[in-house]
Symmetry: C2
DNA sequence: GGCTGGCACTCACCTCTATAGAGTGCCAAT
DNA sequence: ATTGGCACTCTATAGAGGTGAGTGCCAGCC
């Protein structure tokens, strides 16, 4: 793709520069770089190289007499071909695993934990997109009468997912009536796709009285709506507060934009969507995301799989100047662990 | 309690000062105040009054040559006896009501809505403490077999609350077996207190085989734990981001402290607890809260009732310099509406 | 050709000073 | 008791000068 344009030496210097900048957050001067790097070059030489890098758009100086700072492109090159990722310590992996397994065996809280973990391990904001579940098979349905005309619907879907909702009916139904309805649905449709079921229920007029049919349809309807909503437009964020700590977020206005983005959700979802196809870690750096408020932020994502099928994306949002070498493995491992936790559930 | 120390005139001036300061956020000078108030006094006279107020600790000047600013004590006096509350426009009440009733007939999302509404109507952070439910009667319990040794427990409690959890058993149970267990529990204990039930189940050895008893106990145990957790230490916050907008929060460190307080929860809960006994609106101003990070914030709370029993508290957190006359009725009405929504549920 | 030392230059940042403006405190007069 | 007047205090703002970090470029060296 990108052919080798940079000399070995230039690459090593760029790498050293980015690493240094990530560490200190200060523009890096030629002098510092000369000391930092084992190449034993004089500052003057380094200045020449820097001038080249600047021309290529990989670094800039905030003003004539400051050191150099990586640009988005510079970071890009860095993460794509220069970065050496620190493997997680065994200890850390185990802690992650324990926390995830310790979580309730319930999808919601599992995702919540994943998000919190991402946040606390990276000290940035963790983000988990809710798993998409186009296939949604009805495994079992139950109706329980509540007081008045209210009926509790319990759906077990995809073997693991439990949903319940209260629906209103126009008259009171006995326990027996409701059991008959449930029994009918279970017998006929267990294992079928939810929408399929709803369509068939609506079609098969002769099978049941109209009012009962309407209850069943309503129940399936509700379930469907819940699912759609969850699948389409939602994600969990944890530890946004961590972002307050970074000096690149010192600008209150920036912060507000960012928090707004979390609330609007649309833009972020769009980003997450883009990375759902990529097979591994994906990184969006600064302006690459396209979203205004995110221009000083990077997003590191990884899709997670259930039974070898990608069902969602998770990741971390933080300042562009983040320790990619630490963050990447955390995101990577969390995605894998979450996947397996969801599979074995 | 506080006897009338202030002259009529002093009170009117203090009121005008606080109102003006709330509007503009700038220290108010004697000149401005002279123009603002219909008393037709000269600035010099007002200066004399201000000197008195300052001595009483009701106002201060940030420096020798700035106007005056209310102190916490000044705000206190203001809200306690000077404030004229603006009634909500009928329109607003209706909107609140509609939004609350439109919410799913489910406690969780209802509280969530209340919190969001508080936040969006006041442009500050909304806060809702989860209702305490010491009484927790079992209305109905159901067991459904899932794959493997997993059993889905569905509990209907207090007529409205639905909980479900998956528990593991040591062997597989048939639907019929589980139905028998549920039937037994429903028949014997429907309407009884949850803990009572658990105790009795554990005691009554002769009624069922040991393994079944253990399943029932586990189920009740789980429910109990969930309840306890929810009741004791939780509240919902919405719209914290709104706080970013206020200039008194411009200090990033302040903000961080504040957000930390939301996460730690303990201190905030303590505050909410303090106001659960008070019958009506309660207001904590600045340092009164005792919590460090909250010293530039005020908290306006109101308890909400279900069937004439106070079950929780809700309110709003914002800068001390907030429009109390607007906020108070919003909090008040929301508390009442939430109460009635929960009652009629 | 590539590397280096040297030197002039630029720019952010800090401090110091001067000035304008807002508002007070106090006093003497009504 | 209230008021006008006046000196005073303090902040905010702008400009001036100094400092230091770091660059760009050039001439010399390997």
């Amino acid at each position: 793709m990108t052919e080798k344009i940079l000399s070995e030496r230039a690459e090593r210097l760029l790498k050293a520069l980015v690493e240094r900048y990530i560490r200190d957050g200060q523009p890096v001067g030629s002098r510092t770089l000369a000391r930092d790097t084992p190449l034993s070059l004089s500052p003057a030489t380094i200045r020449n190289v820097m001038a080249d890098l600047e021309e290529m758009g990989l670094v800039t100086s905030p003003h004539t007499s400051a050191g150099r700072v990586p640009t988005a492109q510079g970071y890009r090159l860095f993460v794509d071909s220069l970065l050496t990722v620190k493997p997680l310590r065994r200890n850390t992996v185990e802690r992650l695993q324990k926390e995830l397994e310790g979580a309730q065996v319930e999808t919601g809280s599992l995702l919540q934990s994943a998000s919190s973990l991402l946040s606390s391990f990276t000290h940035m904001a963790g983000i988990v997109m809710l798993p998409r579940r186009e296939v949604c098979t009805l495994r079992q349905i139950e109706f329980l009468p509540l007081g008045g005309n209210r009926i509790l619907v319990i759906l077990i879907l995809n073997d693991h997912e439990v949903q319940n909702r209260v629906i209103m009916s126009d008259r009171q139904y006995s326990r027996a009536e409701l059991e008959r309805m449930a029994g009918y649905l279970n017998q006929e449709f267990s294992g079928a796709d939810l929408r399929e079921v709803r369509a068939q229920v609506l079609a098969s007029i002769e099978q049941a009285r109209a009012d009962m049919r309407s209850i069943m349809a309503t129940a399936l309807d509700v379930a469907d709506r819940v699912f759609q909503q969850e699948a389409d437009d939602d994600f969990l964020v944890a530890g946004q507060d961590n972002l307050l700590g970074y000096q690149e977020m010192a600008d209150i206005d920036k912060l507000r934009q960012l928090f707004e983005a979390f609330n609007t959700k649309r833009d972020i979802l769009h980003l997450l969507d883009r990375s759902i196809e990529a097979d591994g870690i994906q990184i969006f750096i600064g302006e690459e995301s396209g979203r205004a408020g995110l221009d000083t932020c990077s997003l590191v994502t990884a899709p997670y799989k259930v039974d070898d099928r990608v069902v969602g994306v998770l990741g971390v949002i933080g300042p562009t100047r983040m320790a990619y070498d630490r963050v990447i493995p955390v995101v990577d491992v969390t995605a894998k662990l979450l996947g397996s936790a969801l599979s074995s559930e």
